[in-house]
Amino acid sequence: MRTPLALGVVSAAILVLPLVVPPYHATLMLPFMAYGVVLLGFNLLFGYTGLVSFGHALFIGIGAYAGAVLTTKLGVRHMELILPVAALAAALAAAPVGALCVRYVKIYFGMLTLAFGMVFYTFLLKFYRLTGGDEGMRMLRPSLFGSEWAGFNKTAYLVGPYYYFSLAVLVVATLVMWRIVGSPFGLCLKTIRDNPLKAESLGVSVPRYRWYAFMISAVYAAVGGALLAPPTGNVDPTLAYWTHSGNVVFMVLLGGFASFFGPLLGAFAFIFLQDTVMSVFPYWRLIFGAILAFIVIVAPGGLMGLFARRGPVEVSRR
């Protein structure tokens, strides 16, 4: 874990960033913060409960489309309202999906979540009269902290009020997740990950707790998804495609799934890596694939695993 000093330095840096850094890089921090929220939830499922979902883009999509529907079809512009609605929509979707998926583990869980993710993608694409199909739906500029910020042009809005709003959401999300993993509930999850039989024998209902973890992670994903949409101004089905889920998994691995802050580091590293490599090298997928392979083989603990002075990361089968 990072020392409080490191945490303080990073927090200070993030706070003053929009004031010192060129606007483009400040706007890059926005997907970082959105994915940060997504990954905190995802890692509850992956790092702490041991389940890899290959369909989390489903909930990111739900969050994003919730924002789009609210701002364009229902006239709701308050981000403070959009986020809870996105969270609720995700919880409602995650309840049945999760209930079905958590009965299975490992490969089956991954495959089942992938299938559900693709069903949603297909739905978004096919029912175009409802969802806009491949063209997607607009997401209008939400009002933050009660104000429209009408005097700000889009860029100023993004690197100003929107930046700090997203940061606030990320901080709250982090604090809540910190409490969750430190609670008895979190401990149960870890036990389930390490030894499901033992957990059962201790009276912990394995499927039920996995289900809770699934729903929490879905809610986080949707909140992150809703945060992702305003900078683009448009939501489209590619947000729910399975390779988007794959990117989420990549980010978590990159940062390090075995630590609390690993996923946040992973989101940061991925965003900036993608930005740099994409501009310079047209075959950036090759680089990313190679990096992912490298992490899986050599450094499964990700970046945090390289920094931290912990023991070897538990990755073997038995």
Binding site: M111, L112, T243, G289, V296, S316
Partner: protein
């Protein structure tokens, strides 16, 4: 009308023939190594592009076009040896890891192979031109069927039979089944798993690349064709049961024919149908038709 029925069925069976090859490769690898190879679609694409290049080289150097199937199949099989490189160079490092990491490594392969293919062949669609029609057409119960399709179906069937023979009648096949059933026991009995894994993965890859090569005259090689196929192949193995060769065969038939029927009867369902079937199977009979019972 029987002609229509024949058309629908033949379309479905042709699609199934190709799906079977890719799924068989997947099943073989999963059965023995317990790895779900997300990159099977990428190998399929690799086989497709290589097949085109092989045919182009062949006809460009005076080879008679009527024999194009030979370089096609040869090219498809030869590039399958890439599987050996992948297995020895990448996969073997993660055999003792959690399944998740193995899956993720194959995902990394998907990303890499996509760009490798684009680097070598570019992003424009490629095809073998009109060679598809070189063998003419046949009349089957009033319907017109390209002879090439029949050749591919026959080839796929022979390979299915061949695989069946390999698995049940040869020593290697017995080893594969033993390793699939109980790896530790097989190792205890003196089987060198490294060799088995290398050969199994290579064989699995070659099935996929061959499938890609064989389908190409009837279609075209396009960017990201592999990413699209993985979903269908995945449906096939789920329906058939993970790890089962018979499952690959029947699963491919189910997916191929159902898709064909759906298109002629209720086209809107085409895409959704596959996923719904997968979800249904995973929920009510997760081991599919022939898979082993799982946790």
């Amino acid at each position: 009308m029987t002609a229509n029925l024949v058309n629908v069925l033949m379309g479905g069976v042709f699609h199934a023939a190709i799906l079977f090859l890719v799924a068989a490769g997947l099943q073989l690898v999963f059965g023995v190594q317990k790895i779900f190879n997300l990159a099977c679609g990428s190998f399929y694409a690799l086989g497709a592009y290589t097949g085109i290049s092989a045919v182009a080289y062949f006809t460009g150097h005076g080879g008679p076009p009527i024999l194009f199937v030979v370089p096609l199949a040869a090219g498809g099989l030869a590039v399958g040896l890439v599987g050996l490189v992948v297995e020895r160079g990448l996969l073997r490092f993660v055999y003792d890891r959690d399944e998740t990491f193995q899956l993720l490594l194959t995902f990394a392969l998907v990303l890499m192979l996509e760009d490798v293919i684009r680097l070598i062949w570019g992003s424009a669609p490629a095809s073998t031109g009109g060679l598809y029609l070189a063998y003419g057409q046949a009349r089957l119960l009033g319907a017109t069927v390209p002879v090439y399709n029949l050749i591919v179906i026959a080839a796929s069937l022979s390979i299915a039979l061949g695989m069946g023979f390999l698995l049940t009648r040869t020593a290697f096949g017995r080893i594969i089944r033993a390793a699939a059933d109980n790896r530790e026991m097989a190792e205890a009995l003196g089987v060198d798993m490294r060799w088995v894994y290398a050969r199994v993965f290579t064989l699995g890859t070659m099935l996929g690349t061959l499938g890609g090569a064989l389908v190409i005259p009837a279609t075209a090689a396009m960017s990201e064709m592999g990413i699209e196929l993985i979903v269908e192949a995945f449906a096939v193995v789920v329906i058939g049961g993970l790890g089962s060769m018979r499952g690959a065969f029947l699963g491919a038939l189910v997916v191929g024919v159902l898709r064909s029927v759906a298109i002629s009867v209720y086209p809107e369902l085409e895409m959704l149908l596959i996923y719904l079937i997968v979800i249904a199977v995973l929920l009510w009979r997760p081991r599919g038709l022939f898979g082993a019972a799982t946790a």
